[in-house]
Amino acid sequence: MSSHNTTIDWVLVFTYLLLVTIGWLAIYTADFNELHPEIYYLGSSYGRQLLWIGIALLLGFCIQILDTRFYTAFSYIIYAAALVFLVVVLIVGSTISGSKSWIKLGFFNAQPAEVAKFATSLALARYISSLGNIFYSLRERLIAIGILLIPIILIRLEEETGSALVFGSLAFVLYREGILPGGVLLMGVLAIILFITSLLLPFYYIMASVAILLLLILLMRGKSGIWEKLLTYLPVVVAVITASLYLNDVALLIILPILFLIALLFALYTQKATYTLLALFLASFIYVKGVDFIYNNVLERHQQNRIGVVLGTIEDNKGAGYNVNQSKIAIGSGGLTGKGYLQGTQNKGNFVPELSTDFIFCTIGEEFGFAGSAALIGLFVFFLLRIILLAERQKSRFTRIYAYCVACIIFFHFTINIGMTIGLMPVIGIPLPFISYGGSGLLGFSILFFILIKLDSERYMYLR
């Protein structure tokens, strides 16, 4: 620790502490118990969260004490242990709110999926960094993808769809490291978007969007760099966002900027691909038709319902629909500056279910208004950009890959969670990192984070 090349990134650590503090304050107001206003009361969620924060900091300290090489050397073992843990939970786990992903350990319910997050990140970093070459064989690519897929499948088997999707975000890391070609990633994103939209929107609407997208790609082709392109087409993005706000069309608000982004990326890759684009258009046509056909003719009624509820095409006011509606009311009623700390009427009335966990953002939105929400989002953006910056400054591939994994996981949680509370994303029950109540989640994210801090602190060393 006393080594001259040990430099802890205190900015990031302070940001982490700030987020955890905000989280604790939010939990305090969400579950405020007038009979027990004292913060250490262990019968309350905020009292327990305080305990978890203490444990997390202690763990963070322990992580800093361990030698960096421990994480590289033991990454496969940790990964293997996490997988065993996931299998065990499938057999002996207890079901809490619909997913069999918990192991009861006395007063603490552990969730192996949280362990799997940093374990998979470590294993992925270890494996890819061990390849040492920019050109990968198919076998190597498949193994890398496999490392990612195994926990996804296991967690999906636990009915913990949200967490499974989190691992999907790590596909970006594969792309970043060249394992997965950008085209494949983009095709994947496009496929998901088309799948969702084909069930939500009329056929001609989708195909018109695809046509616009491809046209954009054609327009954006050229020698200029990404920034020039961004600047050139930014007015289009602004116009689209304004239009969708004006029309109050959520679908437009989400889809069009994403389409723009995809167009931008395609344009960068397909310098002379008019035919490719044409093929893409045809493929989209068939794909959208196919999804429609499968949904209407192949899927059973209850499967259709399930998808419909997630997509919001089927009214479900008692379930997810109710949550989102109440969540939107709470946040929307916050106004510019909010109702004041501990003054949130919707929070106090328990109108939003799962307030201290998945819908914790409501307390901030209601009690601190747009100013507070923007501040929190700003803090998260700073946190994520700092991690990406940190990743890009590494000499060690291991650290860089790990850092990207951390960024991807936190970013995914952040986007889905906040997007869910304001009705932009389907309700996928995943927590807001460092903010939501829950010992398992907080410890998982903290370990993920502190390993990154430890790895980064020795960025002048070469790790693999």
């Binding site: 970043r176 608000l253 009335g349 208004g369 747009f370 700003g378 970013f411």
Partner: protein, 689 residues
Amino acid sequence: MEPIKPEKIILQVVVVLTALLLLVRLFSMQVLDTSYQTMAKDNIIREVTVYPSRGLVFDRGNNLIVNNLAVYDLMVIPRQVQNLDTTKFCRLLNINRDEFYKNAARMEVAAGYSPYRPQVFMKQISADVYDRMQEYLYQFPGFFTQIRTIRQYNCHNAAHVLGYIGEVNQMQIDTSNYYRMGDYVGVSGIERSYEEQLRGERGTKLMIVDVHNREIGSYKNGEEDIEAIAGQDLHLTIDMELQAYAEELMQHKRGSIVAIEPSTGEILALVSAPSYDPNLLTGPLRGEGMRMLNADSLKPMFNRALMAFYPPGSTFKPLMGLVAMQETGIGSHYYFACNGAYRLGRRTVGCHYHASCYGIETAIQHSCNSYFCHLFKLFVENDKFGNVSEGLIKWKTYLNEFGLGNSFYLDLPALSGYVPSPERYDRMYGKKRWKAVSLISLGIGQGELGVTPVQLANMTAIIANKGTFYYPHVVRPNTKDPKHKYNQLHKVSIDAKHFSAIINGMEKVVLYGTGKTAYRAGLDICGKTGTAQNPHGEDHSLFIAFAPKNNPKIAVAVMVENGGKGKKYAAPIASLVIEKYLNDSIAPYRKALEARMMKANLISPRPRIYNEPAEEEEDLITTIYLPYTTTTTPLSIPEQIDSKTTQQVSTTEPAATGNEAPVQIKTDLKIPIPSTIKAQPLQPPPDGH
């Protein structure tokens, strides 16, 4: 500069764009769109209605006669009920299991039922059941009590004046912007006509509630609450002692008594017989009481004093005399030979045997039909009107001035009676094909004339006052404002000089004439008998009177259906009412008369329900009079449910009409029976008279 590799910056771009997207969305939700604020307010604020207490009612002597009694409705939020121990619950409520399920079933089919909202499980539980319930209520999640007020009457009389209240019907909700489902509204009597003063103004309290609809505090410390305004108290002009006495005189009879103070227009007593105890129509047994009253063939709910039309008969003659003197120019000494009958063309109106009438005084004294038929002919066929139609219109105008044929003045729901207009005879006989002879019986108060007892009393008061009057009313105006409807002195267009002859005649009626039975030494009663022929049987007995002659203090109209001659029942009853009012008591020598009047039974044998075997008459009477024997307060719910009572209730009375709570009737209740309709052993009408 080397272009930056996209994979190095793409995540930054995505992060920033996503954050922008979230911010834009948040900005639009939190700052631009204000509808969420409204929705949040709707979410947390519950309007709790604060019901104002209904105005109290005092009588002429400032005694409280109608007040409010707190009762408790047992409410339930069905969704919150868990692990209900029905046995214990029923024991606490003093109901059996069947009633419990009946209540639950009734609640579920009621309009606006929702398992998430409070529903009335049982209406008006008694005070001791409430006390017991409060103690154990915590064991029954979902149940709670809600306070309501009902009317309580401290008297057993004047039901027709007081009226009753009931829940608003859908039409009232639709047409008014005040009433809401479950509100109480006056249905009849002053409860109806003074509804707006009595009801007060509802208030609202804003409470903050949580997601389970539990109140967690008041909104903004009650700044936006609206206070309930209590209803105004009413002071009746009714003298309850006189009212009770008059009702007692009218027992076992159909008819009415209306007494007015001529100097103010205040109604001192207003009796419609048969009457009922107002307490029957309040409390948990209201539904049963209502059902029984409606089923009674004597129609005790029908207000005869205000709603029933009778031919005034001879009581109309003083008025006929007045208008004739005013319009035809005859003097008070106008002579017209009676000759035992009035013959005009082919028509003959008979008259009884009496001494010759040497003027209007003696004509009234003897109630000479011929004389007043002649005056009527003189009036309507007078040359100054041109034709008989115009004459009849003029005649009608005078009657209207005296309050006959209109109800504009009264503060109770009343009908206007009927005074025929020429159109009626145009229809009957054809235009211009009728003359005075065709309608000659109008002159003696028969024919197409329909007046209500209150109109007769008012007419008497006008005569007593020699032409001036105040609109009759049962509630004292709470203002001295001379513009108030009841503070304005009105005057009929009959010269004051014409009245003395009429009044003298009315005095002679009592002293030496047809109304000698109304004589009471020292009271100076002036009156006029009436015997109204009617197609339903025995003549109606009528009497109008006022006393004393100079400075009259009371004007009375008595109407006894099928009582025969006016002197037989109506005149003595009127004199007793006047004596009671003026002297506060009945002279001992008149006690026999009083007793005879009170005992006189003109409605027996009771009209029999068709196809009812005669031997069941005893049962029939018990059934009909049962509701009158129900209690006032407290409620008659037995201490313990024993199997006997339960069985009896479930077998005999399955009724529980509408939303009313189930009713238990105990046949052995010892309750004072209202005097007016007391069931008595059948007895023949007294002999003589």
